[in-house]
């Protein structure tokens, strides 16, 4: 079978769902032209009444998707940059997320929000480089950060079919990944993690593009330490059961993720593990610094992002 790229996987998931279900549509800026890759070719195939270019009115069209969802549609919204999620935080966290409970279950809001190329893309600097998935995990909106093309496909399909709002982050540094797809692409359940590599000494929870980094490190340190690489895939709801099982075996935990440190996903994983799971040594996390704002110059941008060397150091620290 052919190599499937991450971007193409998202594109195919969307095409398949547009094909399968007439209530699915795609809204966003420049989605007809497909400048973010994700929607390339879809307008041509499905028409511009299902793949719809919007004005630069993120707040309005985000809540319009909510309204359309209340009337039976399953809109997918594309945001061009991660920080646009700040701009529509009200519309997602305070409107879409709350309708089901507030109405006593009268309605559901099946909207999917997608940010292709989230996190730092080199040279995009302060206002375009956040990776704010922890914010959605905090308010309790289902949040997905796929690490591989087949997961990107399968999780996006599940998100679109899900009856709740779901945010999908496609990390900029994963968008170029390619995968040999040997079996059919299938939906991946939201909330189920996956052990990417089994190991017995330490569990490394790695998110999104950092899964590859963790796998590399695991290989590299193989003679020194047996590393289990755990990919949550869904950051909210998190697959605590699978993690507990992993820690039952390893008793050691390192989390590497690309969000800010304070109150980020790493904090949640460490906290839950400390509360409820088997730990024989202090856990460690690797992420962006507190309050990180990515500076423009490449060397500065890179200095702030979590990566290989810090992960190696953290693994060695928990093994001490």
């Amino acid at each position: 079978m052919a190599k499937l790229s991450y971007a193409k996987a998202l594109n195919r998931a969307l095409a398949d769902e547009l094909e399968r279900d007439q209530s699915v549509c795609v809204l966003g800026e420049d989605v007809v032209a497909g400048i973010a890759q994700f929607t390339l070719g879809l307008a041509k195939r499905f028409g511009t009444d299902r793949v719809i270019d919007t004005p630069i009115s993120e707040q309005a069209f985000t809540s319009m998707a909510t309204g359309a969802a209340l009337r039976g549609m399953r809109p997918v919204i594309e945001f061009q940059i991660p920080s646009l999620l700040f701009l529509v935080f009200e519309q997602i966290a305070n409107q879409a997320h709350k309708f089901s409970l507030m109405t006593g279950g009268q309605v559901s809001v099946p909207v999917t929000y997608v940010v292709p190329s989230s996190g730092s893309r080199e040279g995009w600097a302060g206002q375009h480089s956040d990776h704010p998935y922890s914010l959605f995990a905090h308010v309790g909106v289902k949040t997905i950060v796929p690490a591989t093309p087949s997961d990107a496909y399968g999780l996006l399909v599940s998100a679109i079919r899900d009856d709740d709002p779901v945010v999908l982050f496609a990390p900029a540094l994963a968008m170029g990944l390619r995968e040999d797809v040997t079996s059919e692409l299938v939906p991946v359940p939201i909330g189920s993690a996956r052990v990417r590599r089994p190991g017995s000494d330490v569990t490394v929870v790695a998110v999104g593009h950092l899964v590859s980094v963790a796998l590399d490190v695991a290989e590299e340190l193989a003679s020194e330490v047996s590393i289990e690489v755990f990919d949550p895939r869904t950051v909210y709801p998190f697959d605590w059961e699978l993690l507990a099982g992993s820690l039952e075996r390893t008793g050691r935990l390192v989390v590497i993720d690309d969000s800010n440190r304070s109150c980020g996903l790493g904090a949640e994983v460490l906290a839950t593990a400390a509360e409820e799971m088997h730990l024989v040594a202090p856990p460690r996390r690797v992420g962006r610094p507190d309050g990180a704002v990515l500076p423009f110059a490449l060397a500065l941008d890179r200095a702030i992002q979590p990566g290989h060397d810090q992960l190696v150091a953290a693994i060695r620290a928990v093994m001490k």
């Binding site: 009115s57 309005a60 209340l70 409970l101 279950g105 309605v107």
Partner: protein, 343 residues
């Protein structure tokens, strides 16, 4: 305006409008229902049976009733923090609405929503919204979905003068005009956003905002239900014909406080004389005067009974059980973790 209104009253009775009807008595009845409902609710706030207070709609009844009477039962609305009137005018059961305000399991939202989130999808009410301007894009989205589904549904989205300065409302007007969506933007201009006079907040005007997006608008006497009905009927016809949205600005007034909390604070943002001046043009009196006195008396008595029964229903209804506090949180049935670690 009177002309337009006059037309409207006699027009379009082929399919039965909801729920006030276009007949003068029905319109009066619906306004009386809202007035008495609000009086009753104020009592329940005082007695502590409604927790947290309400934003009373008294004085503005003609707007909700005039707008909703121009809609068909299958049409939709979204409402505001000051939403009881809209919900009742669109046809929700007052008993279930009152039970909602009292936080009962029998309430419209099973006690989950309360005053600012009352929703009744079966009656076409997509929800009150506690965020100023927050409902307008939701309404536009519903209108958009209706159009795509081939339906000729129309949706009215209510908001106050305060929302005229909220970005998302203006964005929505642009989109609704651009895509010719069947939305009625109903601005209830009651002269104030809490303590802020409209003139202190709004540069330009409501109709100027509509014009900015090439949207027609009409300003009507919001104390006269026929004026509101007339203007809305014309806007509904336009929307149903695929000619896009209209802004309806209804000039109205709230007699009472912004919110019942205000009763505990001394505020002086408006004068007693101003309130008295508006009360002279009470919407119930204006419409009541168009009815035989006997009809009015009959309706008043009937409504008194409806409200008494609603109160009785609300009071005797069970409270929802705390175990179900997180029911409905996820439509998919996901159960998040509780606030405390297990074990």
């Amino acid at each position: 305006m009177a002309e337009l209104a006059g037309q409207a009253v006699t027009a379009g009775t082929a399919s039965p409008p909801c729920p006030a009807g276009h007949d003068p008595a029905g319109l009066y009845r619906s306004m009386r229902l809202i007035r008495e409902f609000e009086e009753c609710a104020l009592g329940l706030v005082k007695s502590g049976e409604i927790v947290g207070g309400i934003h009373p709609y008294i004085g503005e009844e003609a707007v909700a009733v005039g707008v909703c009477a121009a809609l068909l039962p299958g049409d939709l609305i979204t409402s505001t923090h000051r939403g009881h009137g809209h919900v009742l005018a669109k046809g929700s059961d007052p008993a279930a609405m009152l039970a909602e305000l009292c936080g009962r399991a029998t309430g419209l939202n099973q006690g989950r929503g309360g005053s600012m989130h009352a929703a009744d999808v079966s009656a076409g009410i997509l929800g009150a919204n506690a965020i100023v301007g927050g409902a307008a894009p939701i309404a536009a989205g519903a209108a958009w979905a209706a159009r795509r589904a081939g339906s000729d549904q129309v949706i009215a989205t209510f908001f106050g003068d305060g929302a005229l300065n909220q970005g998302v409302l203006l964005e929505t007007m642009n989109l609704a005009a651009l895509w010719s969506l069947p939305v009625l933007f109903v601005c209830e201009n009651n002269g104030y956003a809490t303590t802020m006079a409209t003139s202190g907040a709004v540069a330009g005007s409501a109709s100027g905002r509509a014009a900015a997006f090439g949207m027609p608008s009409v300003t009507v006497d919001g104390m006269d239900v026929l004026a509101v009905l007339g203007a809305t009927t014309a806007a509904v016809a336009r929307a149903r014909a695929g000619q896009g949205p209209t802004l309806i600005e209804a000039m109205t007034y709230r007699y009472g406080p912004h919110h019942t909390i205000e009763q505990r604070i001394r505020l002086s943002y408006r004068s007693e004389e101003e309130i008295a001046r508006w009360r002279e043009r009470d919407p119930l009196d204006i419409q009541g005067a168009r009815l035989p006195a006997a009809t009015r008396t009959l309706i008043d008595a009937e409504i008194a009974e409806v409200i008494a029964a609603a109160r009785e229903f609300a009071r005797s209804s069970p409270e929802p059980s705390p175990e179900g506090a997180l029911e409905f949180l996820y439509a998919s049935g996901l159960k998040g973790r509780g606030g405390v670690a297990d074990g």
